[in-house]
């Protein structure tokens, strides 16, 4: 049989297993059927129920507008799959090509897609995390519990961690007129993702909306009452805050433990893969039958010096799922590279914050258009003289312009594209906390629009 015959036979009668039945898993399943895969398709998920959307959980659901069980994802098509839900996968055997489930069942496959995503990082002291009134927000059960606690009218909410999720939750507390304290170890909110300049703007925004924002402090202990209900938090500066609800928003942990011993390059940093979403094994070799997509994937991006980057972004999950699905049923010569420029959004304090590119891949930042004081502006990020990212506050229409600057390795700082030029257009150091390792490497240009046409060519660096 030729390899074309083998591929045809696989598309007709093969067995594909998708581990992780959330956004990326569902979109991959739909894309596999769109690509003409008629074999058996099995969806494995640790949560019961159909795949649902998570971004609304920290927004529409917490405001009380939308019930937590009302975010089930729409279907683009029937996927005709066997769904094994409510049981997590516990192992992957690449010698026999089987996924092992926690209940002992074994599911054989010819090709497997891993899209097990991320779970919420719990509070580090188990007994304190178990107190009534202490929450994380990742699943719909989490969101439902927190929504009920907010509806009960707490005297104060403590949000631990001022990243995007923590900031969104603080915003909703203020919308619901609930007093809220936000505790952040960094000097300002969003600093880890967007740097010090945007962090200061985010801090002003929170304080203007009545948030009791405490930066540069660490929560050391959550104290409960005799009934086991959270009542007070202790900080490392000796101060305390009395509150009835604590929301732990300290980011996520990638779900890779089940792959220990599988031979894949999987760890706390995710699962390494190539731009075709094929997993790497521990030796750094590409596997033929194991694919990765979504929050758990760590994929090289040629635009960012081929560094392996993992992204917890909605659009990234969708795009990677489609590329992975295409490549799972395509021959080597027809495979697509995943070459998207990352896109992210957050809605907080009435402001639409969006970013394009990788803001942490930068040494300088400059406001290029609009007005910071009006919370309506765009800031561009640069690395060694080229544009690598941009962030907009209520100016989303311009992000596509900046995406093109990133894709063409345009010189930094870029000129203001509109008449609303800011007063001060002097780049400042991006000032990310902690050491940021930036390896030298190639600069590339991305061309093409459709996933099948996206290609990279190398160009000279600007400096």
């Amino acid at each position: 049989m030729t390899s074309a015959d083998t591929l045809r036979a696989f598309k007709r009668d093969g067995r594909i297993v998708v581990v992780g039945a959330s956004l990326a898993g569902l979109r991959a399943a739909e894309a596999l059927r769109d690509e003409g895969f008629t074999g058996s398709l099995t969806m494995i998920g640790d949560e019961s129920g159909e795949p649902y959307d998570r971004p609304p959980l920290s927004k529409q659901v917490l405001t009380g507008w939308v019930p937590a069980d009302g975010t089930t994802l729409p279907r683009r098509r029937d996927v005709n799959a066997e769904w094994l839900l409510g049981v997590p996968a516990s192992g992957l055997d690449l010698a026999t090509n089987q996924v092992r489930l926690a209940d002992g069942r074994e599911v054989p496959f010819d090709r497997v897609l891993i899209s097990t995503g991320v779970r919420a990082r719990p509070w580090f002291v188990e007994s304190e995390a178990a107190l009534d009134g202490v929450f994380v927000v990742r699943t719909r059960e989490h969101a439902e519990g927190l929504q009920r606690a907010l509806a009960a009218g707490p005297s104060r909410v403590l949000v631990i961690g001022a990243g995007f999720t923590g900031s969104e939750i603080a915003s909703i507390c203020r919308e619901r007129d609930i007093p809220v304290t936000v505790a952040e170890l960094a000097p300002a909110p969003l600093v880890g993702a967007l740097g010090a300049m945007i962090g200061e703007i985010a801090a002003d925004m929170q304080r203007a909306h009545g948030v009791d924002l405490r930066c540069g402090v660490k929560v050391t202990r959550l104290e409960g009452d005799a009934q086991g209900h959270f009542r007070r938090a202790h900080f490392d500066d000796g101060s305390t805050v009395d509150a009835d609800v604590a929301v732990v928003a300290l980011g996520g942990i990638r779900n890779t433990e089940w792959l220990r011993g599988s031979g894949l390059a999987a760890g706390v940093w995710g699962i390494a893969c190539d731009t075709g979403c094929r997993a790497l094994d521990l030796n750094g070799l590409i596997t033929d039958d194991v694919f990765v997509a979504g929050d758990v994937a760590r994929c090289p991006n040629p635009v960012y010096e081929y560094r392996l980057i993992s992204l917890e972004h909605w659009a990234n999950a969708v795009e990677q799922a489609e590329v992975a699905a295409h490549n799972m049923v395509s021959g080597q010569a027809d495979r697509w590279p995943h070459l998207s420029i990352p896109l992210f959004w957050s809605i907080q304090f009435g402001v639409n914050i969006k970013s394009v590119g990788v803001p942490t891949f930068a040494d300088e930042v400059v406001v290029t258009q609009g007005s910071v004081s009006d919370h309506r502006f765009v800031a561009a990020y640069g690395y060694r003289g080229r544009v690598t990212a941009a962030v907009s506050f209520n100016n989303a229409k311009w992000l596509d312009h900046y995406r093109q600057l990133i894709e063409t390795a345009a010189p930094f700082p870029p000129p203001c594209p509109t008449p609303d030029q800011p007063v001060d257009m002097k780049p400042v150091p991006v000032d990310f906390p902690g050491p940021v390792l930036l390896a030298q490497g190639a600069t590339v240009v991305v061309t093409g629009h459709d996933p099948g046409e996206r290609r990279v060519t190398a160009v000279q660096q600007h400096r």
Partner: protein, 75 residues
């Protein structure tokens, strides 16, 4: 009915909030909040909003809509 909005694509044109205000609301100047599970009685409104979106960011469930003609494309 189930919907999802690709907010990385949404640019805040607010056409949806005008055409189907029960399902789509503007939050501040350009942030969109939406009901991912609007009541079926709003189906026609929501389909119209999806069709009118300048960046085609609104995805409506294709399975539950199978037996319902897509009026939106002709309105």
């Amino acid at each position: 009915m189930r919907i999802v909005v690709d907010l990385s694509r949404c640019e805040g044109y607010a056409q949806c909030a005008f055409l189907a205000p029960d399902a789509f609301r503007m939050h501040g100047e350009e942030a969109l909040m939406y009901d991912p599970n609007p009541d079926d009685s709003r189906r026609e409104q929501v389909l119209r909003a999806a069709a009118a979106c300048p960046v085609q960011a609104i995805l409506v469930d294709q399975l539950e809509g199978r037996d319902v003609p897509v009026e939106a494309s002709t309105s």
